[in-house]
């Protein structure tokens, strides 16, 4: 039986790429031998993902699907040595400029990721990107043909989750209603500090008693501490740094959120705004990288240079203006319908079968 294994850099619960790989594996596993291998594995994923060192010997007729999002020389070496055909799924590599000053080693990993793409370019049998924005980046790097398939995208996966009573208690104790929600790792380019500043403006100048919930793992100790310090110095009330949350808790927070806001300066796709739409939460985003393409007309898209004042105005408007709220909710649902018609892993697997396995 042909093997079609997937390789990812890091595997963790709640990580979008890990989730996509698991969804793809669920379909691939019905047709071929398929496992997921990662260089770094969170202990919580140890039963679902195997260490890259354990990738079994392959044949030229087998396939490795590599999800590119960061660079690690060990992974590059492994991929270049393997005899299998290589399928590249590009999820975007964040520009290193966002990290050079405060996290140079992470910035170096991102730079290596882009270098790795050039090293792999001639080895790749099939190239897939999960957004047109990402596809264009690869075309600019000289990849001859790139297919856009947001495979494994399931923004509504948590909507049937039973609410968590402990999370409801946490929300009652820490934030007020209405509250703004942001879901993403705490990283400088995600710009959560703009949301804290906007909340400060709303609480002090607009005199609105509004809360802010930031869900997401702390990936940069410096940025996380700076966010906490900013909250303290600006005396912003009702802010909850919720950290990484399991699905049941996250679903509960989405259900209670008044508005979802993201000030991120770079996203190769941007799944949390789509998850918010799945929970009928009106969504505000910044026009950056692939974000506008992803949300379509389902969200209020602010210009790329939007600062805390414009975010504050937008948040206030969405909270106060019932007609705008319901329009955004309806548009969000339509956008999800459009996306779900084009996503799913079937398209990706068909391409692998037609263009790689049939060779």
């Amino acid at each position: 039986m042909t093997s079609v294994h997937q390789v990812i850099i890091g595997a963790g619960p709640g990580d979008a790429i890990t989730q996509m790989a698991l969804d793809i594996q669920a379909d691939l596993g019905r047709r071929s031998t398929s496992n997921i291998f990662a260089r770094f594995i969170d202990p919580a994923m140890a039963t679902e993902v195997l260490a890259l060192d354990h990738l079994p010997a392959g044949r030229p007729s087998d396939v490795i699907v590599y999800h590119s999002s960061f660079g690690d020389p060990e992974v590059t070496k492994t991929l270049l040595r393997r005899p299998e055909q290589l399928v590249l799924v590009y999820h975007n590599i964040t520009p290193s400029a966002f990290f050079v000053e405060h996290d140079p080693s992470f910035a170096a990993g991102l730079e290596w990721g882009r270098h790795e793409l050039m090293l792999l370019r001639d080895r790749v049998s099939l190239t897939i990107a999960d957004s047109d924005f990402n596809a264009n980046e690869l075309l600019e790097m000289g990849f001859p043909e790139v297919h856009t398939i947001p495979a494994g995208l399931r923004p509504g996966r948590m909507t049937a989750t039973v609410p968590s009573s402990s999370t409801l208690r946490d929300l009652d104790h820490t934030v007020t209603h209405p509250f703004v929600l942001n879901v993403s790792q705490l990283l400088p380019h995600k710009r959560q500090h703009v949301l804290i500043q906007a909340t400060h403006v709303l609480q002090t100048i607009h005199a609105i008693d509004i809360g802010l919930v930031l869900v997401g793992a702390s990936r940069s100790p410096v940025y996380t501490r700076a966010l906490q310090e900013l909250t303290r110095r600006l005396r912003v009330r009702h802010v909850w740094f919720a950290g990484r949350q399991p699905d049941a808790a996250l679903a509960t927070i989405y259900r209670r959120a008044s508005v979802f806001a993201s000030a991120s300066m770079h996203e190769g796709l941007g799944i949390p705004p789509l998850e918010a739409m799945a929970f009928d939460v009106p969504t505000i985003v910044r026009d950056a990288a692939a974000v506008a393409e992803t949300v379509g007309s389902g969200a209020l898209v602010l210009p790329n240079d939007a600062g805390p004042l414009l975010f504050a105005e937008a948040i206030r408007r969405v909270i106060d203006d019932e007609a705008l709220r319901s329009t955004l909710i309806t548009r969000g649902a339509s956008r999800l319908d459009e996306l779900l018609a084009t996503t799913g892993t079937d398209g990706l697997i068909s391409l692998i079968e037609q263009q790689v396995l049939s060779r």
Partner: protein, 171 residues
């Protein structure tokens, strides 16, 4: 809501920001000030993180190195009978080297503990300094707020005096 309507909403929001700025609700340069203060905060925390993180890493390294001190070496040899000779020599030498290794482990643990304590003291001192500084800044801000309030009261009084002076004297 068409694409044009979204643009209209965003344009309306931008106008709102300008109007609030003109009305004095948003102080001039507020966004720049917020951003530059945050970047300053990042730089200050970054400097602090690097120093203590490095100490933490060094302590961990010393602890791990001390823990891994071994008195037995490898006995592999390509010379016939070499492995047996190495093994026998190892057993003889081990008796003398064992106490040295134990001392080394203890020394390593003490050094690691000292580094950890240094880091703890550094962080405690840094937090205390920061608290003191913030208290001082908060005191200054409170006084500035009082001054602002006094200015408002003075302006109000001046306006009232001006009004009274401009009114014709009552008969």
């Amino acid at each position: 809501m068409s694409e044009i309507e979204v643009e209209e909403i965003v344009a309306g929001l931008k106008r709102q920001v300008v109007e609030r700025r003109l009305a004095g609700d948003y102080p001039v340069g507020l966004e720049l000030q917020l951003e530059s203060e945050f970047q300053g905060m990042m730089r200050a925390i970054d400097r602090h993180e690097i120093e203590t993180t490095r100490l933490h890493g060094l302590a961990d390294h010393v602890r791990a190195t001390a823990h891994n001190v071994r008195v037995t070496g490898g006995t592999d040899s390509r010379v016939p009978g070499g492995a047996a000779a190495h093994s026998a020599m190892g057993r003889v030498v081990q008796r003398h080297v064992q106490p040295v290794a134990e001392s080394l482990r203890e020394l390593g643990t003490s050094v690691a503990d000292a580094l950890a304590e240094t880091r703890r003291l550094f962080e405690a001192q840094s937090a205390a300094d920061e608290r003191q500084l913030l208290d001082a800044v908060a005191g200054v801000l409170d006084r500035l707020a009082v001054l602002d309030h006094l200015v408002e009261i003075t302006q109000d009084l001046e306006e009232r005096v001006a009004r009274l002076e401009s009114e014709p004297p009552s008969t």
